[in-house]
């Protein structure tokens, strides 16, 4: 039965729409504000004249940022850790999830192994013991300190193993009969069929690596080894210039003025904004995959 909505109902719908539009504006406003500041002249930004549109448009802040070898180098280290870290992590996730997705008749110790992995979600050694372990392994100031500890993400393993489990068993039986062993079955059947799940975990791993900053701060003694987020943490937020030689202080003050800060934040957010549409699409699938269990 279709009725013309009452006046109250229509009034509600209009208010609701305005309210939701306002909420989404609040979510984006801070990012647009920063973008506007980054393209404004230093004096306009300092005088607080910029709201959501650049005032006295200039790209000086970006020229300034990309002209600084410190920033560019930190950017490069972040790219490195994303590539190496994601590759290693995906490889490990794929081979770890496969045996754990078997039932107990095919793989006797499956549950024991699964608990060994899951226990690390429930309990950890804490900040100091982890730090001292990395240190005693000699990983300080190396890419390994950023990549190895994040190599196995148990949540991703669980997501993938649940996906494996929902693949039709007949496929595996068929490849068995054709004489394929576990390795061949994994590479030729499971991996091609689980590409959507792999894309999801892969994207999330990449974002995780790009965004992580605390490990860089802990494990890198020399600022020239900082990944981008750690570099930004010390320069933009803490404005901690102690590690610099005196001739660099002026350079750092330049990098920390308002428009340059805004430009650096935006450049660091840019790769995320690029992959975001994909992330969002896969994420919905990811929820469905993670929740469907038999």
């Amino acid at each position: 039965m279709i009725m013309k909505p009452s006046f109250g109902r229509r009034a509600f719908l209009v208010c609701n729409l305005i309210f939701l539009a306002f909420i989404s504006f609040l979510c984006l406003m801070p990012i647009i504000h920063i973008l506007a500041i980054s393209f404004s002249s230093g004096s306009a930004a300092a005088a607080g004249k910029v709201a959501l549109w650049p005032v006295e448009f200039t790209t000086a802040a970006y020229d300034n940022v990309f002209g600084k070898p410190e920033y560019v180098r930190a950017f490069g280290i972040s790219i490195q850790r994303v590539i190496v870290g994601t590759a290693l992590s995906m490889l490990l996730t794929i081979v770890t999830a496969y045996p754990l997705s078997k039932d107990r008749n095919t793989f006797r110790l499956r549950t024991v192994y699964a608990w060994i992995f899951v226990f690390t979600i429930l309990f950890n050694g804490g900040l100091i013991p982890t730090y001292l372990t990395i240190k005693s392994l000699g990983l300080i100031d190396s890419l390994g300190a950023l990549v190895f500890p994040m190599a196995i993400n148990v949540f991703n393993v669980i997501l993938l193993l649940n996906f494996y489990r929902n693949l039709p068993r007949e496929l595996e039986d068929a490849s068995r009969i054709d004489g394929a062993g576990h390795f061949a079955t994994l590479w030729k059947i499971y991996v091609p069929l689980s590409l959507p799940a792999l894309a999801t975990t892969g994207l999330f791993t990449m974002v995780g690596h790009w965004n992580s900053w605390f490990d860089g701060m802990l494990y890198m003694n020399h600022p020239e080894n900082y990944p981008l987020q750690t570099f930004l943490q010390t320069v933009i937020i803490k404005m901690d210039f102690r590690f610099l030689k005196s001739e660099n202080v002026e350079l750092m003050l330049q990098l920390s003025d308002r428009t340059s800060r805004a430009a650096q934040i935006f450049v660091a957010a840019f790769p995320i904004l690029i992959v975001y549409p994909f992330l969002q699409r896969f994420f919905i699938k990811g929820i469905v995959m993670g929740s469907v269990k038999e």
Partner: protein
């Protein structure tokens, strides 16, 4: 014996596949767990874990005598619980309102916009917040100025700091919850609404008696899983936004452990504090998983 070798012959590739993953978690998760011994030692870096003298519960007694300990635990639980409650209430409300929109593209656009901050790191968001909330040049204080309100130092005022943490955390994370709850709402059988309408239920009654019960399983699940976060007040966020003047309202267990352990190199003491947190969290997370299994039939694997 014979059957064991037969099983091994069949299953060895599976063991082999697990080997690299196991190596990584043993080195980076289980070996650090042995470092928990430090909590009971006067740890001296040169002497290492085996050479440092054991001092029993002394580190924990030191913690109990520490003048600020009550405040640190209070701040942690206070901020974390407020975040959990607001993080439940806000997305549910927004999801219900969003569900009233009839056009699919509007729902999709809205979800896309509000979910974005979730993917930006707290370093970047803190940089943005520091700029916006600045008492001298921040846009928020300029706006308040139009209404004759004097500049407020949001990040430097103990009365404001915890609430700024909660609001900015909700701002970053509510998009995720909204998507989850909206999915639950979309799954409600439309005949339930029709039945309620025939029984004379208006929109509000339908919200109470159809929508909320329809979302209840997922609400229960999200709430129970959040129990494990009661001691996680958000290190990344607070560490990037706090400063010495607001330690009184902002210092949480994680930031305290960092300052004691990494900055002041009191390894034994910091490990003891961290261990206390890990043990309590372990209990909370285990309870939450058991509850989630009992109440919502949720299994992690």
């Amino acid at each position: 014996m014979n059957s064991l070798t037969r099983i091994w012959k069949k299953e060895w590739p599976l063991h082999l596949m697990l080997l690299p993953g196991l190596a990584f978690i043993v080195i980076f998760s289980y070996i650090p767990m042995t470092g928990i011994l430090m909590a009971f030692q006067k740890y001296v870096p040169n002497k290492g874990l085996l050479g440092s003298p054991f001092i029993g519960w002394r580190n924990f007694e030191l913690l109990m005598d520490y003048p600020d300990v009550g405040r640190i635990f209070f701040n942690t639980v206070y901020i974390a619980v407020m975040k959990i409650v607001a993080g439940l209430f806000v997305p549910i409300t927004i999801a219900i309102l969003l569900n009233e929109l009839r056009r699919e593209w509007m729902k999709r656009t809205f979800q896309t916009l509000v979910y974005l901050p979730h993917f930006l790191s707290w370093v970047l968001l803190s940089g943005i917040l520091v700029d916006i909330l600045s008492p001298s040049s921040g846009i928020l204080n300029q706006l308040l100025g139009w209404f004759g309100i004097k500049p407020i130092f949001f990040l430097g005022d103990n009365n404001w700091f915890p609430y700024v943490m909660v609001i900015s955390d909700v701002w970053k994370e509510f998009g995720f919850g909204t998507i989850v709850y909206l999915a639950a709402l979309t799954g409600i059988n439309p005949t339930l609404y029709e039945a309620a309408e025939i029984d004379g239920a208006g929109r509000w009654k339908q919200t109470l008696h159809v929508m909320l019960p329809g979302m209840m399983p997922i609400i229960v699940l999200m709430l129970t899983l959040n129990i494990g976060n009661v001691l996680n007040a958000g290190f990344d966020q607070i560490f990037n936004l706090y400063s010495a003047p607001v330690y009184e309202s902002a210092d949480i267990i994680d930031t305290f452990v960092y300052r004691m352990g990494i900055q002041q190199a009191q390894f034994g003491f910091a490990t003891a504090v961290g261990l206390l947190k890990s043990v309590v969290s372990f209990i909370f997370i285990s309870v939450s998983y058991v509850l989630a299994y009992r109440l919502a039939n949720y299994r992690i694997f």
